[in-house]
Subunit: 76 residues, 2 copies
DNA sequence: GTGTGACTAATAGTCCGTC
DNA sequence: AGACGGACTATTAGTCACA
């Protein structure tokens, strides 16, 4: 049968995707921050779900990670 | 050949999707606002790209419209 | 290289209206 | 039904020093 939806909050899905994609590319939080044009500690805050990121920063992070924005909101 | 990327800003893609999906469902801005638990005037602001929506509200809007969140960030 | 608390500036989001 | 404005509060954006 179909599997249980599981319902992870979207901020967590986002956080996990950012961390996973960053790791896959061998980037540090600092390196990604520079690519995305945001501050070093801000990446960490997002990965820990401490900020409720806006669509504008979702777009910038997606570009820095080289993926389409919807990818960051997609559970895997 | 592959088509031109076109690069519509993500906030505009989001705005267009919200408006289109809302219309398809025959909902007024007020009705959608109530379903999503946000304020009446806020839906209008989003559709006019006047606000930089947060991921939390993307999630709520997606739920209210009955679509997966990534759908709202996808160009069509 | 990352987590965390503290902090200011900016803006997300609400609520009251009018057109 | 929806655009738009002003005033307001809550929260995010973004930075820093330090663990």
């Amino acid at each position: 049968m179909a599997r249980k939806p599981k319902e992870t909050p979207l901020v967590e899905v986002f956080a996990q995707n950012v961390r996973r994609l960053r790791m896959e590319r061998g980037l540090s939080q600092e390196a990604l921050a520079e690519l995305a044009g945001v501050h070093r500690t801000y990446i960490g805050m997002l990965e820990r779900c401490e900020k409720n990121v806006t669509i504008y920063n979702i777009e910038r992070l997606a570009a820095a990670l080289g993926v389409a924005p919807p990818v960051l909101l997609t559970s895997r």
